[in-house]
C-alpha cells in the first residue's frame, strides 16, 4: 500500500512539474522551435533510413537470388511453390558451371594476370603521378594534357593497331600484352590512376620533401621512403581498382589474348552459352537431353548465374576483408576536376 501511495505521490509531483515546465516551454518560442526541429529531424532520419534500406535491398536482392538459384536443384527452378528456400539443395549446378568455365585453371590464370597487372600498374602510375606533381620541367603541362587525352579517347579507337602490334610480335597467346600495356601506363583506365596519384602527391606538404632532402635523401629515396607511404590512400585505391577492373575485364582480354591458349574467367563466362551443350555431353548427360537443356533459357540462365557467382566469389570474399580500407581510402583521395 505504501508503495502505491508513494508511487502515486511521485506521479502527482511529476505531473505538476511537467505541466508547469511545459507551460513555460510552450509560452517560450525556443521550446516550440526545438519541438519542431526534433520532429523534423526524426522524420527526416526515418525517411532517409527507408530510402537507404530500400536501395541496399535493391543492390543485395539479385545477389541473394543468384546465390539461392545456384545451390538449388535444377528441378526447383520451375516449381512455383519454391520461393527463396530450395526444396532440395544440390551442388549439381555449381559442378556444371565450374566445369563449363574450366574454373580452377581459369581462376589461377586470372589471378596471376590480375595480380601482375596490379603490381605493374602501381609501379608505373605512381612514378608518373609523382613526376607530374613534383618533378616538373618545361613542357610538363602539355604532357599532362596528353594523359587526359588517353583517358578520354575510347580504347576502341586504337584497339585494332594495338592488336596488330602484339600480333606482329607473336605475343597474343601469352599474358605479355596486358603486362606490357600496364608497364607503359596504357592499361585499363591507367590515365585515371596517374590523375589520382598526381592529385594526392600535389596535396602533400612540400616540407616533407624538403626535410628528406636536407637529411640527405636522393630523389628516388624521397619518393620511395617518404612520399609513397604518405600516399597510402591512393596506393590502396589504385591497387584495388586495377585488380578488380582487370579481373572483370572483357574488352582487353578478348582483344589481346585468344581463349584457345589461355583460360580466363571473364572470357570463359562470356562464351558459356555456346559451349554448354558440349560440356553437358562431356559430363555424361545423354546428348538429346543435353541439347534440350542447353536450349532451355531457364537452365542456361541459372548456369550462367552460377558461373558468375563462381567468378565473383573471390572478389566478394576479398571485398569483405578490405572493404573498410577501400571505402575510407577512396574518400581521402579527393579527386578534383
Amino acid at each position: 500500500m505504501t508503495n502505491v501511495k508513494s508511487w502515486f505521490a511521485k506521479l502527482v509531483i511529476r505531473l505538476k512539474k511537467g505541466l508547469s515546465k511545459s507551460k513555460e516551454k510552450v509560452t517560450s518560442k525556443a521550446f516550440k522551435f526545438t519541438v519542431v526541429n526534433k520532429t523534423k529531424q526524426t522524420s527526416i532520419s526515418i525517411i532517409r533510413g527507408f530510402i537507404i534500406f530500400g536501395l541496399c535491398f535493391i543492390v543485395i536482392y539479385p545477389i541473394l537470388q543468384m546465390i539461392v538459384a545456384s545451390i538449388s536443384d535444377l528441378r526447383d527452378l520451375n516449381d512455383p511453390l519454391v520461393v527463396w528456400i530450395p526444396r532440395t539443395i544440390s551442388l549439381q549446378t555449381i559442378k556444371i558451371a565450374a566445369s563449363a568455365i574450366d574454373y580452377f585453371a581459369a581462376l589461377r590464370n586470372t589471378f596471376i594476370m590480375a595480380v601482375g597487372v596490379m603490381v605493374i600498374t602501381l609501379f608505373t602510375t605512381s612514378l608518373a603521378g609523382y613526376a607530374f606533381a613534383r618533378l616538373r620541367f618545361k613542357g610538363m603541362t602539355v604532357l599532362f594534357i596528353f594523359v587526359v587525352f588517353t583517358i578520354v579517347v575510347p580504347p576502341q579507337t586504337i584497339a585494332m593497331p594495338m592488336f596488330m602490334i602484339f600480333n606482329y610480335f607473336g605475343l597474343t597467346s601469352t599474358f605479355w600484352p596486358l603486362f606490357i600495356l600496364a608497364f607503359t601506363g596504357m592499361g585499363i583506365k591507367a590515365g585515371i590512376f596517374i590523375f589520382i596519384f598526381n592529385q594526392v602527391f600535389r596535396n602533400l606538404p612540400k616540407e616533407l620533401e624538403e626535410a628528406a632532402l636536407i637529411d640527405g635523401c636522393g630523389i628516388v629515396r624521397t619518393f620511395y621512403n617518404v612520399m609513397l607511404p604518405n600516399a597510402k590512400s591512393a596506393v590502396v585505391t589504385v591497387m584495388l581498382f586495377s585488380f578488380v577492373w582487370q579481373w572483370n575485364d572483357v574488352f582487353y582480354s578478348q582483344l589481346l589474348i585468344s581463349t584457345q591458349y589461355l583460360d580466363l574467367l571473364s572470357l570463359n563466362i562470356a562464351e558459356i552459352a555456346p559451349r554448354l551443350t558440349y560440356i553437358l555431353y562431356q559430363l555424361g548427360i545423354d546428348q538429346t537431353v543435353a541439347e534440350g537443356m542447353s536450349r532451355n533459357p531457364l537452365v542456361v540462365g541459372t548456369i550462367a548465374n552460377t558461373a558468375a557467382i563462381l567468378m565473383l566469389l573471390p572478389l566478394l570474399i576479398g571485398y569483405i576483408f578490405v572493404q573498410r580500407l577501400f571505402v575510407e581510402s577512396v574518400e581521402r583521395v579527393g579527386i578534383v576536376g
Binding site: 543492390v59 545477389i63 608505373t124 612514378l127 608497364f183 585515371i192 571485398y319
Partner: protein
C-alpha cells in the same frame, strides 16, 4: 686546409637532378604514349582510310603478285605483313550508310547516354550526400553501395544476355525462383491504379542498373563533399541558414567542379559499355579491319562531341572556390 685541396666532384644542381629524374620516372609512360598510343592513333587513321589485307610475312614479289591477283586499283603499300590499299573515305561511307546496324546502334547509345547522364549525376550526388551524413550503420550502407563497383562485370552481363533477358529476370515473370519479387502484384491487389504501379516498378528496375553504373561517381562525389571546409557550414548555421538552404548555397556550388569529372567519366564509361563496342569488335573479327577502324573513329568523334558540349556547359555553371594554398 686539407679539405680545401681535396678535389670535390661538383654535384648536379637540384633542378637538373629533378628534371633528369622527372624524365626517368615518366619514361615508361612516355614510351607507352609514343610507342603504343600515338602510333596506334596514327595507324588507325591509315586503317580507316584503306582496305586492309592481312598477308603475314611476305616478300615484295609475293605482294606484287597478290596485288595483281586481287586486281587492286588504289595506291598500295605494305608494312609489317599487312597490305593497305588506299580507298579514301569509302570505309566511313560504308559504316555510316551501308552497314545495317551501325548508325542505329550508335545513335541509340548516344541518346541513351544523354538520358542516363543527368539521372546518374543527380542520383549519385544525392546518394553521396546521404552517405556523407552520420547515422547508424553508416559503414555497412557504404560497403553495400560499393558492391556494384566490385561486381559490375561485362562478362556476367554478356553471359546472362545470351541466356535470358536480364530485364525479364528482374521484373519477375512467373519464373519460379526468379519470380518472387512481386511488388507489382502486391500494389495492384492493394488498389493502386495500374499505370502508377507500372511506373513505380520501372523506376525500381532501373535503380539497380543506375546504381551499378554510378558506383565510381558516388565515390568521387563523396570525396568532393568531404573536401568542403566545415567552417562554411558553421558560418551559415550561425547566420541562421536551414540545412536546405546550405545544401543549395554551399554544397552544390562547392561540388560543381566535380560534376565535370563525374560527367566525363560517365560519358566515357557508358560508351565503353555500349553495344557499339561489341559491334566494332565483331566487325574486326569478320576481317573488315578498315571498316572497323572507321567505325571506331566515327564513334570517337561522337564521344568527343558529347564531351565537348558537356564540358562547355558544365564549365559555364561550375564554381571554383579560390582557395590559395
Amino acid at each position: 686546409m686539407k679539405a680545401l685541396t681535396l678535389k670535390v666532384k661538383k654535384p648536379m644542381s637540384y633542378d637538373k637532378q629533378k628534371m633528369l629524374f622527372g624524365i626517368l620516372f615518366l619514361a615508361p609512360w612516355l614510351i607507352g604514349f609514343a610507342g603504343i598510343f600515338l602510333y596506334s592513333m596514327i595507324d588507325s587513321v591509315i586503317y580507316s582510310l584503306s582496305n586492309v589485307y592481312f598477308l603475314g610475312p611476305a616478300s615484295a614479289d609475293q605482294v606484287a603478285a597478290y596485288i595483281a591477283d586481287q586486281g587492286l586499283v588504289g595506291q598500295t603499300f605494305f608494312k609489317m605483313g599487312i597490305l593497305f590499299e588506299f580507298v579514301g573515305l569509302d570505309n566511313f561511307v560504308y559504316a555510316w550508310n551501308v552497314h545495317s546496324e551501325y548508325r542505329r546502334v550508335l545513335i541509340s547509345s548516344m541518346v541513351e547516354s544523354l538520358i542516363n547522364l543527368p539521372v546518374i549525376l543527380i542520383f549519385s550526388l544525392l546518394i553521396a550526400t546521404m552517405l556523407n551524413t552520420k547515422f547508424k550503420g553508416n559503414v555497412f550502407a557504404r560497403a553495400i553501395f560499393f558492391l556494384p563497383v566490385i561486381l559490375a562485370s561485362e562478362a556476367v552481363t554478356i553471359a546472362l544476355s545470351q541466356a535470358v533477358d536480364l530485364q525479364a529476370l528482374m521484373q519477375g515473370d512467373s519464373l519460379g525462383i526468379f519470380g518472387n519479387f512481386q511488388l507489382n502484384t502486391l500494389l495492384i491487389e492493394s488498389g493502386f491504379p495500374e499505370s502508377v504501379v507500372e511506373f513505380l516498378v520501372s523506376i525500381v528496375n532501373t535503380i539497380f542498373v543506375i546504381i551499378s553504373l554510378a558506383g565510381v561517381q558516388i565515390l568521387i562525389f563523396l570525396a568532393g563533399l568531404q573536401s568542403i571546409p566545415t567552417h562554411l557550414y558553421e558560418a551559415a548555421k550561425v547566420e541562421g541558414a536551414t540545412p536546405y538552404e546550405s545544401f543549395w548555397k554551399i554544397t552544390i556550388p562547392m561540388v560543381s567542379p566535380h560534376v565535370i569529372t563525374v560527367g566525363v567519366f560517365t560519358i566515357v564509361d557508358s560508351f565503353l559499355k555500349s553495344p557499339v563496342t561489341s559491334l566494332i569488335i565483331q566487325t574486326k573479327d569478320n576481317q573488315q579491319y578498315g571498316v572497323s577502324s572507321a567505325m571506331a573513329w566515327i564513334y570517337f568523334v561522337a564521344v568527343m562531341l558529347l564531351l565537348g558540349i558537356f564540358v562547355y556547359l558544365a564549365n559555364k555553371g561550375a564554381f571554383y572556390y579560390d582557395d590559395e594554398r
